[in-house]
Amino acid sequence: MWMLEIPPFTLFFIGGLIAALTRGKIRGAIMVAIPVISAMHLWTVPEGIHLQIAFLDYELVPYRADKLSLMFGYVFHIAAFISIIYSLHVKDTVQQVAAMLYAGSALGAVFAGDLLTLFVFWELLAFTSVFLIWARRTSRAYHAGMRYLIIQVLSGVILLVGALFYAADTGSLAFGYIGLDSIAGWLILIAFGIKCAFPFAHNWLTDAYPEATPTGTVLLSAFTTKVAVYALARAYPGTELLVYIGAAMTCFPIFFAVIENDLRRVLAYSLINQVGFMVVGIGIGTALAINGAIAHAFNDVIFKGLLFMSMGAVLHMTGRINGSDLGGLYKTMPKTTILCIVGAASISAFPLFSGFVSKSMVMSAALENGYDWIWLMLLFASAGVFHHAGIKIPYFAFFAHDSGLRASDPPRNMLFAMFIAASLCIAIGIYPAALYSLLPYDTGYNPYDATHVLAQTQLLLFSALAFVWLNIRGMYPPELRSTNLDVDWIYRRAIPNVLARVFAAIWKADGALRNAVLGKWSQCQRFIASKHKGLGGLLSGSYPAGNMVLWVGVLLASYLFIGFVNKLMA
C-alpha cells in the first residue's frame, strides 16, 4: 500500500492536519477512513526494524515491530476507530484534531525502538490528550487538565533523565529489557509508573478522566495507561516488585469506587483496578503471565471503552452523571442499557465475555508461581470489580429508583460504536483462540475448563448476592453528592495550605524585620539631626537669592568705598 518504512503514526498525524482544515461530512469520512487504512496496512507489516536513523553517536529506531508492539498497535487502531465513530456527531475542531494526534502519539510510542523516540511520543501523549479535557470548557475541566498536564510532563522529564543515565551507563538508547539494577532503571520505572497510575501516583487519572468531554474520556481510557503497560511489559518483565504494586492497584481503588458518586470516576477507579491485573502479570513474568497481561490490556481497551461510551451516552443525553441523579433509564434507553451490561459482564470476567479469557490467565499464573496471597487479593479484586463496575454502574444508572429522567437512546453513531465494542467483547469471549494467536507466546492455554468456569461463576453470583443482601438490609452506602478525599488532597489542599501558612509566617517576619530596621534608621536620623541642631541653624539656614545679591552689593560698595578712601589718603 505504501512504503514499509513509514511508521503508522504518520497517517494519523496527517489525518489530524486534514481534520483541522476540513469540516462536516468530509472530515468525518476522512477520520473514519484513516484508522481503517492504517490497520489494513499494519496487518501486512512483518516483524522487524523498519526504520533506523543515526543521531549523534546513537542509533535511533523510530519504527520497530514485533509481536508485543503489533498487538498494542492492533488494539489502538480498533480503539481509535471505535472512538472516532462514537464522536462523529461532535462538531469541535479542537477535539477532532486532538483525537487524531493523540491516537497517533500512542502508536508512535508503541512502535518506538529507542528511549529518545519513546520520550518524544510520551510527551506528545500528554500534550495532545489534555485538549480532550480542556474541550469540556468548564473551570473544573481547565484546572483538572492543568494538573493532568503537569503530572504527565513530569513523568516525561523523569523518563528523559532516566534515558540519559541509561545512555551513559550502557552507551545505547535501545528500548528493550531495562530492569532495576541501576539508577536509570529506577528512574524509568518511576516515569512509567506515573503514567501507569501506580498507587500514590494514580490520582491524575481519577481527577482528569471524569472532567473530560463524554467522547474525550473514551479516547483517554484507551491510550495513556495502555502505553505505560506496554512499556512495562517491554522493560520490566519478571520484576517481582511489580507483583506487589499491581496487587495493591487491584485492591485499593475498589473501596473508593464503592463510595464514589460520579459514575465516570467509578470507571476511572476500576480502570486502575484492571491495570493492576496487567501489572501483576508483567511482574510474574512467565510466558502465561505476560500473555495474560497483554491479552487483558487488549480486552480492557475495548470493554472499558464500551463502559465509558455507555456512561458518555448517559451524560450526553441527560447532562448528568452522578449516581444520585440517575436511575430508571432502562425504560427509555434500552439499547444503551443492554450494551452497558455487556461491558459490565466483560469487565467482571463472566464466562463467554472477553474479560474472562484474559483475567483467568493472570490468576492461573499467580497460582502456578506460588503467589498465594497475591492470588487471594486478585480474587477479592475480581469480586470487587464485579461489585462496583459490574453491578453498581448499570444498577445506579439504568435501574435503582426512578429519577424521572426520560432521555432517549443516544445518536446512531454512538450506538453503533458501542455495538462494535460489545460485539468484540462477546466474540473474544466465545472464541478466544483468535486473540491468543496474536499473543507473543504460545502457551496452549484454555480458559474454558469446568473448574475455571464454575469457580468464576460462583464468585460472581455470590458477590451479586452480597449486593442484593446489603441492599435489602439497607446497608449499602447510598449515592451521596460528595467529594471523596484521595491522594490529590495532598497537592490540592495540604501542600497549598502549608505553603500558605509558611509564606504568611515569612511575610509576617519579614514585615516585622523591615519595620524594626526602618524604625531604628529613622531614630538614628532623628538623633543626629537633634544633635546638630544649633550648628545646623547657623549653617543650613536658607536665604533668598536677593539677599545674597544685596550683600554682594554691600561688599562691593564697601570695597569701593575703602579703595576710594585709600586713594584720598595717598
Binding site: Y330, T451, L459, S463, L470, G474, P478, T483, R493
Partner: protein, 140 residues
Amino acid sequence: MDINKSNNEKSDEKDDKQYFFDNPKNTKWVMNIFYACCVLVVVLDFVINRHVYHSWENLPAFYPIYGFVGCVVLVVIASWMRTFLMRSEDYYDKSDDKGCDHPDDDHDQEHLEKNNDENTHKGASNQTENKKIGDHNVDA
C-alpha cells in the same frame, strides 16, 4: 439477558406505560431465578470433579463464601471510609477561588456541616428509597 430484551420491546410504547420492573411480580420472578442460580452453582460445586491448584480451593463452597464475605467486607469498610473521606461536593472548587487563606477554613467547616446535614437528610431518604428498591428491583 432475556429480561432486558423484554424491556426493549416494552419501551417502544408511551411513557405512562408500566415498565418491566414497575411490576413487583416481575422483579420477584427475576430475583427467584437469581437465587436459584446461586443454589445451583453451589450444588455443582459438589457434583463436578475439579482439579485444584491450592489447598484452600478444597474447602466446601470456597469461592461462594469468599465472594460473599469479600463483598460485604468491602462495602462495610468503604462505608466506614466515608466518615473521614467525605467532603462537600464543591470542596476543591472553593479553594480554587480564594487561594488558601486559613480564616476560610472555619467558613469551610461551617459550610461543610451544613452540606453534610443536607447529605444525611438526602442520604436517609435515599436509604429508604434503596431499601424499598432493594426488595424488588435488583436485576444483577
